[in-house]
């Protein structure tokens, strides 16, 4: 093939643009579930959470999470009027058995459920040296446990502390947003078991999803927005003291 200099100069930018699509990959061919048609996130209503720990138990049962490790957990905040920047936070046993009555009185008290934010620009995926953690086309961050080398870099990189080192598999483990459930049209185990509707799975690409109305009519925040991770856990009624 003979290329003139002019032709090469035309080709190079086109190739650079095409490379983006090569890196992005193509969505998988599944018969009923088309990942490109979904974009998953979750709505967490702090004003509804009662700290029962139902989500923590359901997650452990659905996903075989080992004892003492958590893909999701609930924190209890106590914010004193004079120290609104330094809340007292506890989460006994990840709230798997709920919370005992607080020993602290007064102030502002509330529960905050936490788990992987399935960030759009996730730090954990960026640091993986082997490509064992990745983004799916529908916005879920997953770990390929058969490919993970167990270097723990991603566990350090997650600013939300949502990853742990699996004690028997010796690989990184985290919330999968119940990927095995959502591709079947089911909601996650934590959302299924939440008795108050404080957790609701949301499909942002579904125009009929109630999340759109909710986001327009409520003051919603994500955790650590200054880190620009593109977190997709939307918190309603979140206090500024929550980190």
């Amino acid at each position: 093939m003979n290329l003139s200099r002019r032709q090469l100069l035309y080709l190079l930018p086109a190739a650079a643009a095409a490379w983006e699509f090569v890196l992005a990959g193509t969505p998988e061919a599944a018969p009923t579930y088309h990942s490109a048609e979904h974009w998953w996130g979750m709505l967490l209503d702090v004003t509804k959470c009662i700290g029962c720990g139902g989500c923590v138990r359901a997650c452990a049962l659905e996903n075989d999470v080992p004892d003492g490790y958590f893909r999701t957990w609930v924190e209890r905040y106590h914010v004193d009027d004079f120290h609104i920047e330094s809340p007292v936070v506890d989460s006994p046993g990840g709230a798997k058995e709920g919370f005992p009555q607080s020993t602290l009185t007064g102030g502002k008290n509330f529960f905050v459920p936490k788990f992987c934010n399935h960030c759009v620009d996730s730090p954990c995926t960026q640091v993986c040296p082997v490509g064992a953690t990745f983004h799916t086309a529908d916005g879920v961050v997953l770990v390929d446990q058969n490919y993970c080398v167990g270097c723990r870099y991603c566990i350090q990189a997650c600013p939300y502390g949502c990853r742990y080192f699996h004690p028997t598999k010796n690989v990184a483990d985290k919330c999968t947003l119940c990927y095995h459930r959502i591709v079947k049209g089911l909601t996650t185990a934590c959302c299924e078991s939440c008795p108050t509707g404080a957790r609701q799975l949301a499909d942002l690409k579904d125009p009929k999803d109630p999340i759109h109305t909710f986001l327009k009519t409520h003051s919603v925040q994500v955790l650590k927005p200054h880190l620009a991770t593109g977190a997709k856990n939307f918190y309603n009624g979140l206090d500024g003291s929550v980190r």
Binding site: G25, E28, I50, Q101, S102, F134
Partner: protein, 157 residues
């Protein structure tokens, strides 16, 4: 045109680079999983492996298809938004084999207080009690039906 002189050292270096490049391509082909890069910078087969996991929670739609009577009794009570497996636990196996795998009844002594015991951090208006003081040691289902608990006047939903 100046003839190329004394280029043998360059050729040797080029040969070393070429061998290195060939080795890299061969080893990459040997070690990289076949499905790597199919969808993105990861092993494509991992998606199928992750989605193959069996479910434990059947989902309330599945429960309601066989137990519409319970769904009806829940429909107008305060527990309308509480899904079946929230209290009864994961029952996908029961849904697959309803006759042989019968679920156990939840233990009322622990079940209700998980949500309804008093806690300072619970939202105001959520019904919460000091169980001992409230019932005097009686089980909750003595007075309240779990699928549709009645409320005394003044109590909020």
């Amino acid at each position: 045109m100046v003839p190329l002189k004394d280029i043998s050292h360059l050729l040797r270096m080029a040969a070393v680079f070429l061998v290195g490049l060939i080795l890299f391509v061969v080893l990459r082909g040997a070690f990289l999983p076949k499905s790597f890069g199919k969808y993105g910078h990861y092993r494509g087969d991992a998606l199928a492996e992750i989605t193959a996991r069996p479910i434990a929670y059947a989902g309330h739609q599945t429960c309601e298809s066989c137990h519409p009577d319970v769904a009806d009794s829940k429909a107008h009570g305060a527990h309308v938004q509480v899904n079946c497996e929230s209290c009864h636990g994961p029952l996908a196996k029961h849904a697959d084999d309803p006759t042989n795998l019968r679920p156990e009844k939840p233990d009322i002594t622990h079940l209700c207080v998980r949500c309804h015991s008093e806690n300072i951090a619970k939202p105001q208006g959520f019904p919460q009690v000091d169980a001992k003081e409230h019932s005097g040691g009686q089980l909750c289902d003595t007075c309240h039906h779990p699928h549709s608990p009645h409320f005394s006047e003044g109590a909020k939903k």
